[in-house]
Symmetry: none
Subunit: 199 residues, 2 copies
């Protein structure tokens, strides 16, 4: 009559080890005796919710009741959440936003600039790719150059340079190695799609 208890015990132990805590150290943090932690991790006790909550809290976890439909999502995110890749994703999204805003400004101030529509389409097309496929440094470069378009005397040079960087970005997105490509295949696809919704 128990379904997920083994998994919870394993999860607690894994989290403790990830944090590099001994059972005694966790005991101090959580206020649960070390002997009990050992039993909990071993799955030999059917622990109370309060004990679980205390341990979870000490391990920077939160107890959640998740609809079955969303379980695979949750599991993926538990793996991904602390990944070092996430900072890049957030930064890339910020660059995307800044680029969009800058483009909007330029379109208002110089709507007839030749090649501007072409650049706009290229930027829009980046939305076809996952954010994690986009190169942060190139995105930064792109934004920098686009900002130069607005400066008198530099319009065409900057615009052409922008188009060149766009090609680089697109090529990298299409041909660079997939991140964690071996792991990617075994992961539900929408674990990566989370990036869309990080507004």
């Amino acid at each position: 009559m128990s379904y997920d208890i083994t998994g919870i015990a394993e999860r607690l132990q894994a989290a403790r080890k990830t944090k590099g805590l001994s059972q005694r150290e966790l005991s101090e943090l959580a206020g649960v005796p070390q002997a009990q932690i050992s039993r909990i991790e071993a799955g030999t006790v059917d622990l109370r919710l309060s004990s679980l909550a205390a341990l979870a809290h000490a391990l920077d976890l939160e107890l959640a009741l998740v609809p079955r439909k969303a379980v695979a999502v949750v599991r993926s995110l538990s793996r991904d959440a602390i990944s070092s890749n996430r900072k890049d994703v957030v930064a890339i999204q910020k660059e995307m936003q800044r680029i969009s805003e800058t483009m909007r400004g330029i379109q208002m101030s110089m709507p007839d600039l030749e090649g501007l529509q072409r650049l706009q389409k290229s930027i829009s097309d980046l939305h076809r790719f996952r954010v994690s496929m986009l190169d942060l440094e190139e995105m930064k470069k792109l934004r920098h150059i686009i900002e130069q378009i607005g400066r008198p005397g530099k319009e065409m040079v900057s615009l052409n340079e922008s188009l060149k960087i766009m090609r680089t970005i697109r090529n990298k997105a299409s041909h660079d190695p997939l991140p964690d490509s071996g792991d990617t295949l075994s992961r539900p696809a929408y674990s990566l799609d989370e990036e869309d919704d990080d507004a």
Copy 2:
């Protein structure tokens, strides 16, 4: 010394009511006495993990330990996974998963099939794109054909057909009109509990 216990009790009650179950009905389903369910919902007992798991299971929920950092994202994605506005995305993701699993099986049973690596790479490359850019019907077709690869006498025909569909999928992802990207970027974060709290 308790952190999330009240929330868990409330969540359980909300889920029960959403499903339109009485405590006695839930008692039958979960194998936990009605009297105990009443106490649990009232928060007057510090229930054991096994009881919680049984109740969760009966309510189509699963207990999860989620990193604190990921809580907001979990909520967001749980909504997306269930939201009627994103059925295609969920369905596409499921297709991706099934395709990956099927490919894994094929690679194990016929690792030397000519062209298989090429197909595998094509499928992997789909991960460069946002899920929303992928065509559900084509994905279904692809999965169907890939399943035929495993059938004797149909290997090469099915594999070549698969590669053809892959090209279609990729072309559509690259050239189809973009979904409303402005809406995507401005989408707010959702609450994990919102579905049940609507009741």
